[in-house]
Amino acid sequence: MPCRLFPSAAAPSTALPPELLTRVFTFAVRLDPPRMSAAMEKHLGWIRVSHVCRYWRDVALGARILWRHIDIGELSHRWHTEMLGRSGATPLHITSGSPRPGPIDVLPDVLDNHFFRIAELDVVVSPENDGTCDRLGDIFTPPAPLLEEVRIESCSASMATMITPDQTGDGAAGFAPKLRSISLYDCRFSFYRFPIYPRLTYLAITMNVNKHPYPFVELNTSQSQRLNNFISSLQGMPCLESLILQGCLPCFIAETLPRDVHHRPPQTFLSRSLWPDH
């Protein structure tokens, strides 16, 4: 009868206590992530450790941190749901970072039911996910107390539109008080209502001006007001070190944007690659 906790007690050299086995699995998560092959065959990757023996399975299922890295571009919706359940209440790292973005059916469920515990969100919105763009539009609206990093790239013909909370000042800290990095690629963003993130150190908003010559959400808003609000928000972020704005400001704003919008050096990079003035 094998020992449940230490099944290899008969061969003590091979028995690892749960904390060490969890450490091994932690590396396995990074080295061997689940994926779909080019032929759309499912490869469970590191998850196979839970099929080795009862002890390994118990350790793997008991270590919730192992299940928090969820690539929503891989495996099936059932697997995503399973992993969300197994991760318990641990902060989530959600990515669709696979090189070939596909349908991300589980994203609405993640945003609706688990957004409060997302720590990192790295999503590529592909043409198959046009419907998801609208859901992403609300991404900065609900409270995200654990959110630290956001990276959203839109490969879709209809750009994801980021709607920021209609709030500035100290109150915005309540939405995402830990947020320190935002990277948006080909996403429309409301500069007019850009919130203040007190711990933000990195902000990159990049537009492919050839694809999207009119990226603004609020084209009817007065240009000067838009500029003032945006600069005012930037000035309210004392930790901001890197600001990258490419193709997302019209010339008149970019030329006016002061280089000393930050209170604190170093401002490592301020790109003013301009959107042609229309």
Partner: protein, 173 residues
């Protein structure tokens, strides 16, 4: 709680600038090592603090063989005086690094030895060595089938045939 035995000063010369420790392995080999070398071990550091509190020096008995202990000492000697980012391997940047390359060569040992080293490092609370060993083991099972993992690490399949083919025993999806 470690077992300790009293030793006299002639056994452990520790009055100089470089203090020495006496480590005793499970096969009763006495190994003298400089305290600085073993400072990467939180376990040893705590033992030394205890010695200073009582003004008595002791040999430290360790529950693993001299072969494993010498391997751990070799690791600690190599990184003597260095701060290792791998003390928190999760924070270490991915990719190649001189530390990782040396560790890979150092840990190019058979399975049983690797498992003994990680357990010794865990006992001695040497985080960086635990992390390197764990990574090495994860590398061994990367991309392997379940059966191959069992063979590589000598693990017995204790699932019943029914469990093995049951969705609840494995995973759904």
């Amino acid at each position: 709680m470690p077992t300790i035995v009293s030793v006299d000063d002639s056994t452990v010369p520790g009055e100089g600038s470089s203090r020495l420790l006496l480590l005793v392995s499970s096969d009763n080999k006495h190994i003298v090592v400089e305290e600085d070398i073993m400072s990467r071990s939180r376990f040893i550091s705590k033992q030394v603090e205890g010695f200073e509190a009582t003004s008595q020096r002791h040999a430290i008995l360790l529950p693993f063989s001299s072969f494993v202990l010498n391997k751990v000492i070799e690791y600690c000697s190599h990184y003597r005086g260095y701060y290792l980012l791998e003390d928190d391997p999760d924070a270490a940047p991915p990719g190649r690094s001189p530390v990782r390359e040396w560790d890979q060569e150092f840990l190019d040992v058979d399975r049983n030895m690797l498992l003994r080293i990680i357990k010794a490092a865990h006992y001695l609370e040497i985080k960086s060595l635990v992390g390197s060993c764990a990574r090495a083991i994860a590398d061994m099972i990367r991309g392997k089938t379940t059966e191959e993992m069992r063979e590589i690490l000598g693990v017995e399949n204790d699932f019943t045939p029914e469990e093995e083919h049951s969705p609840s025993s494995k995973c759904t999806g």
